[in-house]
């Protein structure tokens, strides 16, 4: 069942047929690549040891659910922070924390992964604001993920 009106971010869509049509990969256990805790942007310390000089992933909350291969394909070898630009409150602190990743933790790169729904763009905007106010520059890539886990675009910010 698909509904065509309302906010694209909250619109009901049913992918059951597509999701069950193909068995993903092996069916075996996929090893977690998470190398830290906590991960939510309100809870993290941007200068925690695992952020120092790291390749950091800033992802919208929904990303890990949409992308079947999130752990091996995206998270492996990276430190992470997660947030919801639509629902989270107090997002000003996110800008400060991202800025601190760049200036204090001296991260190597930042990859911002968002869902294709328009409200998710806010996370890219937060990262851009933080990067503009930071003294140190690093490569920042924006990745847009489709609702069924396809990579729709990659772009350097």
């Amino acid at each position: 069942m698909n509904e065509s009106n309302g906010c694209p971010g909250a619109r009901m869509q049913d992918f059951r047929a597509a999701a069950t049509a193909e068995e993903g990969t092996t069916g075996g256990k996929v090893k977690s690549q998470l190398q830290q805790w906590p991960i939510q942007m309100h809870l993290i310390s941007p200068v925690a040891p695992y952020y120092q000089g790291a390749d950091v992933l800033l992802t919208a909350d929904c990303i890990a659910y949409a992308l079947g291969g999130f752990h091996p394909d995206c998270l492996k070898g990276k430190a992470i922070g997660i947030a919801c630009p639509k629902l989270d409150e107090g997002q000003e602190i996110y800008i400060e924390k991202i800025k601190s990743w760049l200036d204090d933790a001296k991260i190597n790169t930042l990859t911002v992964m968002i869902m294709q729904v328009p409200c998710c763009r806010g996370l890219l905007s937060l990262a851009q604001q933080a990067a503009q106010s930071a003294e140190r520059k690093v490569p920042i890539k924006g990745v847009v993920v489709g609702l069924q886990g396809e990579i729709l675009s990659e772009e350097w910010l």
Binding site: G77, N108, T109, P139, K141, E154, W156
Partner: protein, 263 residues
């Protein structure tokens, strides 16, 4: 027929000359390459044709190699990263492309620079030294050194495409030596010949790097390597201080001067 993928392109062209025309159709310029020792599979991978174009190219070449029976040359394995064109150049590679812009501006004024060569006066010789200094200090010590000492180290330096780029750099250095000798001898004609040769060399060299080499490198660099490169280029820029700015101003001044003389 997979054996052809591991054969030097020059050998394939020598054995089957019409293959050159098929390559040209896809803007693959191996025919004019000075070495031609790249393996066929590397060429297909480096040029990163769309799957349908690659299939058509392979089919075209297969028909030439074996006109009497249908053969299939297997598709070339490559990394499944999106094309660099989709994401644009990565920031460190973008930096090199931006440096090329200034080099291209210099290369574009070389014909007028040649027309106004004056080896008989000190002011004329000084202008010539200024042009040569741009080649030595900006194009070579600042830009080419970044490639040779940093970027190329992330790849197998025995790959032909990298050997060709380094050979171009050496060739350019040889041209500069000849320019300086010609200037010492106040040999205007020889100076003009070397400048013209440098112009032709760099025009092709920059095009190869911008359109083929850098895009291939971007597809093969990991995010971690891109961050490292960005950081190492920044360190190199700090080492050079305001040198890039100085040469930006120099080229702007040369353009103004030479265009004014033309008007």
């Amino acid at each position: 027929m997979g054996q052809y993928l591991n054969t030097n392109i020059k050998e394939i062209i020598d054995q089957f000359p019409p293959v050159a025309d098929v390559l040209k159709e896809y803007d693959i310029g191996c025919v004019t390459c000075s070495l031609g020792t790249c393996l066929f599979k590397d060429i297909v991978g480096i040029h990163d044709l769309a799957p349908d174009e690659e299939a058509a190219l392979m089919a075209g070449i297969a028909r030439i190699i074996s006109p009497d029976r249908e053969i299939v040359i297997p598709a070339v394995e490559r990394k499944s990263k999106p094309k660099a064109g989709e994401a644009g150049y990565s920031p460190p590679i973008r930096k090199l492309v931006d440096e090329h812009r200034l080099i291209k501006r210099w290369v574009a004024v070389i014909p007028k620079f040649i027309e106004t060569l004056d080896v008989s006066t000190e002011s004329g010789r000084q202008l010539i030294r200024t042009g040569i200094d741009f080649i030595q200090s900006y194009a070579d010590k600042y830009h080419h050194a970044k490639e040779e000492a940093i970027l190329f180290k992330y790849f197998d330096e025995h790959l032909d495409i990298i050997k060709i780029m380094c050979a171009d750099h050496e060739n350019a250095r040889g041209r500069v030596k000849e320019m300086l000798l010609a200037l010492d001898k106040r040999d205007k004609e020889k100076l003009a010949t070397q400048l013209k040769a440098y112009q032709e060399l760099l025009t092709e060299h920059v095009k190869k790097e911008d359109e083929i080499l850098y895009r291939w490198m971007d597809r093969n660099l990991s995010m971690t390597q891109i961050g490292e490169l960005f950081s190492r280029f920044r360190e190199k820029d700090e080492e050079f201080g305001n040198t890039p700015q100085k040469y930006q101003e120099l080229i702007a001044q040369l353009e103004k001067q030479l265009n004014a003389e033309e008007a």
